[in-house]
């Protein structure tokens, strides 16, 4: 079973008031945790804190299984791929895999093995056939799948996804949801920000996990059928300033 994430009195302040305040929570290992909430509610700040990408107060710890330090995988919402930059899909994945400069990598003895590893990761997200294309030639959804492939490279114990299906077509969404199910079945922990209520219900209908609503504080947390009820949804997704009023 992969890592559990513990948050104690976690708060984030960018200098214009608290975006997140006093979050005390634990994300159990081996489950799919979906973070939802209104825009500006602090979802992104929460997981950027977990990744150590933003300063926060309080304490965040990951409890790895059997005492070893595990691996974090991260899929950002997007990356900057200029259309004409000469960087193929395979180049981008290899960039995350090797320290040998890309332009010398084919001369290195271990290159074949690393290339095979990169292609295997691309196969998992259905992008191996497009490995020769430039990153800038791909659609937003396809780029998202490649970003997912880079996160899978080192067999992460905890996978953090920022709105993973943004811009994805039906086939991409299918690949991603199957993969999330497969990873959780292998005992991995997934933490994903999502905004599509129907998709979240679909994911958590077959994959063990919980929904957590973040709106300045942790507003609600639990199984999808308890949290995303029609009676609750309207109040859960109101901006916290409106709720205060």
């Amino acid at each position: 079973m992969s890592g559990a994430i513990h948050l104690q009195h976690v708060g984030v302040d960018y200098g214009q008031g608290w975006v997140l305040e006093a979050i005390n929570h634990s994300f159990e290992p081996g489950q799919c945790h979906i973070i939802m909430g209104p825009n500006g509610g602090g979802k992104t700040s929460l997981f950027r804190s977990v990744l150590g990408l933003t300063p926060f107060v309080g304490d965040i710890s990951v409890q790895w299984p059997s005492g070893r330090v595990g691996r974090l995988g991260y899929v950002p919402q997007k990356a900057i791929f200029e259309q004409s930059l000469p960087l193929t899909v395979l180049d981008f994945v290899l960039l995350n895999l090797t320290k040998v400069p890309l332009f010398l990598a084919p001369l290195w003895p271990g290159f074949k093995q690393q290339r095979a590893q990169a292609l295997a990761s691309l196969t998992r997200v259905g992008m191996a056939q497009r490995a020769h294309l430039r990153m800038g030639q791909l659609s937003g959804g396809e780029q998202q799948r490649v970003l997912f492939a880079q996160a899978l490279l080192h067999h992460p114990d905890v996978l953090i996804l920022d709105e993973p299906t943004t811009g994805m077509d039906e086939a991409g969404v299918q690949y991603l949801e199957n993969l999330m199910h497969e990873l959780v079945a292998q005992g991995k922990t997934i933490l994903a920000v999502h905004h599509d209520i129907a998709a979240v219900r679909r994911i958590l209908a077959r994959t063990p996990g919980k929904v957590h609503i973040v709106n300045h504080h942790l507003v609600d947390s639990g199984p999808v059928e308890d949290v995303l009820t029609s009676a609750k949804i309207e109040t859960l997704f109101q901006h916290f300033s409106a709720r205060r009023a």
Binding site: L51, G52, L53, L72, Y74, P76, A79, I80, F81, S84, L85, P86, L87, T88, D91, F92, L95, N96, T98, K99, V100, P101, L102, F103, L104, A105, P106, H132, R134, L147, Q150
Partner: protein, 293 residues
């Protein structure tokens, strides 16, 4: 270097090489061109990937002020390296430091810094003109093959080797940090340190290129070969190798052709005009042959 001069002289006498290569200054200039080409071409791909073209131009232009300061502080007008290095480094590091702490867009910020540096340089040059013949500065501003001495080749070789090793060690991490700083940070890459390292690399390459290409035009050689290769290549390996080859050919031909054709133009200008020619040809190829792709 002596063995190389003797070899070139004998080869010229035997008719294997052009008679102009019997001169030591010509050998120096060609060796410098062979060393600078791959370095500038390779580094240039990162300048393009990190979208630092304007920055690299600005560092080169700030060199005017560095040179003026160096001469005013007593350095030789031929090699005011300390003034050049100190000012360019302070300029580049300060610009990068402010960039990370201001909401002013980066191109605006570079424009402001560049204007201040040029204004300061212009003011100081008036004082320099009282001290030396101002035409001596043309060599360091626009490059001259006559100005390259054997000691410059040693500096070029040592600093160039260090830069080359650093570039190869950091290349993948720098590129990943340029594409997605967040992925790079999560993978434990020291993104900020790498950013400052690259600033230092651009500054150093500007300084060692002064003799051949000239401070003003070195930024262009960091940009044009990479911009040309970008139009022609699909893979990253092709991009870096093609850029290095174009930069090296431009440096070699830009050094040789003015001599062969008896043209009184600075080597830096000839190199950049050739590189610009390759860029225009690559654009024409792109427009005519790859239309619709």
């Amino acid at each position: 270097m002596q063995w190389l001069y003797s070899f070139a002289e004998q080869a010229s006498s035997a008719g294997w090489l052009h008679p102009s290569l019997a001169y030591a200054f010509m050998v120096n200039a060609l060796v410098a061109a062979c060393l600078l080409g791959p370095l500038l071409g390779g580094l240039g791909t990162m300048v393009v990937a990190k979208r630092l073209a304007f920055f690299s131009e600005a560092v080169g232009h700030a060199a005017i002020t560095g040179i003026a300061l160096g001469i005013l502080l007593g350095e030789s007008p031929d090699s005011p390296f300390i003034g050049l290095f100190s000012f360019c480094l302070i300029f580049a590091l300060l610009l990068h430091y402010v960039r990370n702490r201001t909401q002013v867009p980066y191109d605006t910020l570079v424009g402001v810094f560049l204007a201040i540096a040029l204004a300061l340089g212009g003011a100081l040059l008036m004082y320099v003109a009282k001290k030396i013949n101002i035409h001596l500065l043309e060599n360091v501003l626009f490059g001259s093959i006559l100005a390259v001495a054997a000691s410059d080749i040693i500096i070029l070789l040592v600093v160039g080797s260090v830069l080359c090793v650093l570039f190869m060690l950091c290349y993948n991490r720098m590129l990943l940090a340029a594409i997605s700083p967040d992925i790079a940070k999560v993978r434990g890459i020291a993104v900020v340190l790498l950013d400052y390292s690259f600033v230092l690399m651009v500054t150093l390459v500007t300084i060692i290129s002064v003799k051949v290409i000239g401070a003003i035009l070195v930024g262009a050689l960091l940009l044009i070969p990479a911009a040309t290769a970008r139009l022609l290549c699909r893979t990253n390996a092709g991009f870096v190798i093609c850029s290095a080859v174009i930069a090296t050919i431009s440096c070699l031909l830009g050094t040789l052709l003015p001599m062969r054709l008896d043209l009184a133009i600075p080597s830096g200008a000839a190199i950049i005009l050739l590189a610009g020619g390759f860029f225009l040809m690559a654009n024409a190829y792109q427009i005519l042959c790859k239309r619709g792709n």
